[in-house]
């Protein structure tokens, strides 16, 4: 065992960890990143890659608490500009496409929701346009007759999830950050001047720790004696083989879980947050055939050309959801220097969250106000019954952590 020091230890090499490492190392901080597996292999690498700039659809299929999509809007507005410059900043192509997107309605009720959403967006300074069904079809002839209206946002887009995280990591590495894959963190202890993180058999002393472990956020926090209430789920994606360019926009549904777009390579990605069969934090989550059928049928109803395509692959991945479906970002009260970030729409918000974490660590104020999104609201009161409610879930997850620790130590032995 050897001892190291760093300015910031980042736990999790998904998109948030990678973005944070990029901003921090560029600002001159000595950054060490740990991941229990390969970087970008979980939620960040299995997500759809949508850049959601118009207000989000508030509920995934099966989601119990609808998201307060108004709270997301200032974050989306702020991050939109950041995405525009991301390729320049990282000196890498991430297949960024800003071809705009439609959010469609199929019922008068949904159309009324679109109208209210558009007013909310206008008030937040986000330019969107409300179209009736014919205008929507004139703009995108692929839309079916069932569409009664749509909002159009020119800023919606796509970035390749398999490129953006590696690009952030490469930039961080160029600025001196160390990235350790297959190195689960096994201990986090408070010290007089910060935190001591144990990983790969070594210790790392740092004044700041950033926990961006996605679905493992609660488990990692617990290593530091912090009890957080997270509600990770697994959702799934569907992809067709490469097709000739057919559609350039992101198409979403205001009333049901659906997002469809064609990516740079030509494949059409069909998602919408449909639940996978099983969240498996130990291996690969298992996709649900029922969700696949539901998601594809909905997509084909809205975009009838999809009823004639082939399905190439279905995959499932974890989503680090919070109980209130809002993002979490900030310092844990009572644990100075221990920061957490996660929650849904982390992909869209990643540049903003990376920069925000960097500023919070430095004691500066972020570009948008996030004080209400801090982890305080997710802290579990260890005196209450709530602890019992989460105990089952945690037991299952502890097993996953234990196994990954064992795998890690086996691998280290092999390497030694």
């Amino acid at each position: 065992m050897s001892r190291h020091t760093a300015d910031v230890v980042v736990i999790g090499a998904g998109i948030l960890g990678a973005a944070a490492a990029h901003y921090l190392s560029r600002a001159g901080q000595r950054v060490v990143v740990f991941d229990r597996g390969a970087p970008n292999r979980e939620g960040s690498g299995t997500t759809a890659g949508n850049l959601h700039i118009q207000a989000i659809h508030p509920s995934r299929p099966g989601q119990e608490v609808p998201a307060d999509n108004g709270r997301f809007l200032p974050l989306q507005v702020a991050v939109s500009d950041m995405w525009e410059s991301v390729e320049l900043e990282l000196e890498a192509s991430v297949e960024l496409r800003r071809h705009g997107g439609f959010m469609i309605a199929e019922t008068p009720h949904e159309y009324a929701e679109l109208r209210a959403k558009q007013a909310m967006e206008a008030a937040a300074g986000l330019p969107t346009e409300l179209l009736d069904g014919d205008a929507a079809r004139a703009a995108l002839p692929l839309l079916s007759r069932t569409v009664v209206g749509a909002t159009w946002c020119a800023l919606d887009g796509y970035a390749n999830p398999l490129k953006i995280t590696p690009a952030y990591l490469a930039s961080a590495r160029r600025h001196g950050a160390q990235i350790h894959g297959y190195t689960p963190v096994t201990g986090i202890a408070a010290t007089r001047s910060g935190w001591r993180v144990t990983a790969g058999g070594d210790t790392y002393d740092a004044p700041a720790v950033i926990n961006v472990a996605g679905p493992w956020i609660a488990q990692v926090a617990r290593l530091a004696g912090i009890r957080l209430r997270m509600t990770p789920v697994a959702i799934q994606m569907h992809v067709t083989p490469r097709m000739p360019e057919t559609m350039r926009h992101l198409v979403q549904h205001i009333g049901e879980g659906m997002s469809v777009k064609q990516v740079t390579a030509g494949n059409v990605l069909i998602g919408g947050g449909w639940p996978a069969l099983r969240l498996d934090l130990d291996g690969r989550s298992v996709a649900s055939v029922r969700s696949a059928g539901g998601n594809l049928a909905l997509a084909a109803r809205v975009l009838p050309f999809l009823s004639g395509v082939r399905l190439l692959r279905v995959w499932a991945g974890p989503l680090a959801a919070t109980p209130d479906e809002l993002p979490v970002i900030g310092e844990v009260p009572g644990a100075p220097g221990f920061f957490v970030a996660g929650g849904t729409y982390a992909f869209t918000l990643a540049p903003l969250w990376g920069e925000t974490l960097c500023r919070l660590v430095a004691g500066e104020s972020p570009r948008v106000q996030v004080s209400d999104l801090g982890p305080d609201r997710l802290l579990i009161d260890t005196q209450s019954d709530e602890l019992d409610l989460v105990a089952n879930q945690e037991r299952a997850l502890e097993g996953a952590v234990r196994d990954s620790v064992q795998q890690g130590s086996t691998r280290r032995k092999e390497q030694a």
Binding site: A38, P141, T240, V289, A292, L296, A297, G308, L312
Partner: protein, 471 residues
């Protein structure tokens, strides 16, 4: 649907043998195969028009298929099993028209066969470079010569019958480049004396090649294939290095079991000792870690047609015994002994013809490894060498293995290149995912296009997408 006792996936020698024995023993059996005809690859059947011109091919296969149909087996040809549901109790099937079906039975027998392995080399994606299996099918099933001047290369005893079949349809076979050195006297040759029938077969092929003055170059392998828009020239390396003019190159480095369904069903697998790719753990009768799932034939490990038939029969007899039918123990013992004996022969073959994985170390960085997504060896090496990326991370970053073949053609090579670039990467195979082959979305219950509009009482709208759409 659950009134069936046995559901057999795959209508090749193993599946047909299992179906016949099970049905003759009184079980209600369904046999599902994605192809429009039963027979699989080995017993692939000629079209009646070709039979009328040239006679039947492998009549034993015709007899077996006829017997299976006569035994009352429900033969679902043109049906692709693409996934599993209900923890494996239900198999999801796409019908010939892309319609969704779900099949259940008390026992599932996976006889999903294998596909030919080809290790990439520069130019392997050129038209005119084909698998040995393709050339064989054209020569035997269609009676069409694949080319005029044909070179065979790779490794395995399979190259010899293919060369002979090509000679029979008038092809000029310029040579057989065998990457290994199996045809010599030695320990393995002595061991093979215990299998006189197989040895006679092999000697027959070699004699035919000698008669036609076809050289067999051992310790010789393809360095590259080249040509403008199709193959013109092959450069060989090894003992008989040089260039060979040919219009077709047939290449094969053995076979890979089709194990996706077994993996999706959660059957335990182990890495095969030579390549490290997962093969299902199964006993002599094909029982897997799942009590209701058997795996037989090449899907259980490459062993050839005789072993496939014996394994299919062994599985059927075991199911008959488990369901209370009287199975003479002597008959079971005989079949088990045959399975074991043929497994030993397969091990001998494997030892003589190991896939020359070391050749992958030498392929240049610009070699196209993933044919579907056009990912080069250099991209894979660079990605795998970075940030502790394993096989699946490398797939994610490079798209290698993400195309229509779902990694079947490049899987061995991507895994080997990843291991070479990053010795610390964990041992992995490409994650098994649904669908096991690309399927029309209608197979998941999406209404076909005309119905989609009709459901809503309005014509379906939309533009005119190209390509992928099945009209």
């Amino acid at each position: 649907m659950s009134d069936r006792d046995v559901l057999i996936v795959g209508g090749g020698p193993a599946g047909l043998s299992a179906a016949l024995s099970a049905a003759q023993g009184g079980l209600r059996v369904a046999l599902v195969d994605e192809h429009t005809e039963l027979g699989g690859q080995y017993f692939k059947r000629r079209h009646p028009a070709v039979v009328a011109r040239h006679g039947d091919f492998r009549p034993a296969g015709t007899r077996l298929v006829t017997a299976v149909r006569q035994a009352g087996v429900d033969c679902l040809t043109g049906h692709l099993v693409w996934g599993v549901a209900d923890d494996g109790a239900t198999l999801l099937v796409a019908g010939p028209d892309g319609a969704p079906h779900a099949l259940r039975a008390r026992f599932t027998v996976l006889a999903t066969g294998a596909h030919e392995r080809v290790l990439p080399f520069p130019g392997w994606q050129l038209p005119g470079v084909v698998t040995a299996g393709l050339a064989l099918h054209l020569a035997t099933i269609d009676r069409v010569p694949v080319g005029r001047r044909v070179l065979l290369a790779g490794t395995g005893p399979f190259l010899l019958p293919v060369a002979c079949a090509l000679l029979e349809v008038g092809v000029r076979v310029v040579g057989v480049a065998e990457a290994n050195h199996p045809y010599r006297l030695g320990r393995h040759a002595a061991a093979s004396l215990r299998y006189p029938a197989r040895l006679r077969e092999l000697a027959g092929y070699l004699a035919t090649l000698v008669r036609h003055r076809v050289p067999v170059w051992q310790d010789t392998y393809v360095l590259s294939a080249s040509g403008p828009d199709r193959l013109r020239q092959v450069t060989l390396g090894g003992r008989h290095a040089g260039t060979v003019e040919a219009d077709v190159l047939c290449v094969g480095h053995g076979f890979r079991p089709n194990v996706e369904l077994a993996r999706l069903l959660g059957c335990e697998t182990r890495p095969d000792p030579v390549v490290g790719e997962p093969v299902p753990v199964a006993d002599v009768v094909g029982r897997t870690s799942r009590p209701d799932v058997y795996v037989v034939g090449e899907a259980a490990g490459i062993a050839g047609v005789h072993a496939a038939r014996a394994r299919g029969q062994a599985a059927a007899l075991d199911i008959l015994a488990r369901t209370g039918r009287a199975v003479p123990p002597a008959r079971q013992r005989r079949v088990h002994a045959r399975v074991r004996r043929l497994a030993r022969f397969a091990a001998l073959t494997e030892a003589l013809f190991p896939p020359p994985l070391h050749l992958l170390d030498g392929i240049p960085d610009d070699t196209e490894v993933c044919r579907c997504e056009q990912v080069s060896a250099g991209e894979i090496r660079a990605t795998a060498g970075l940030a502790h990326n394993g096989l699946n991370a490398t797939k994610g970053f490079t798209r290698a293995g993400m195309g229509l073949c779902q990694g079947r053609e490049c899987g061995t090579a991507v895994a080997c290149l990843t291991r070479a670039a990053n010795p610390h990467a964990p041992a992995e195979a490409f994650t098994a995912r649904m669908p096991v082959r690309p399927v029309p979305v209608t197979a998941l219950g999406v209404p076909p296009r005309h119905a989609a509009g009709a459901d809503r009482g309005r014509p379906a709208g939309g533009g005119t997408p190209g390509g992928e759409v099945v009209r």
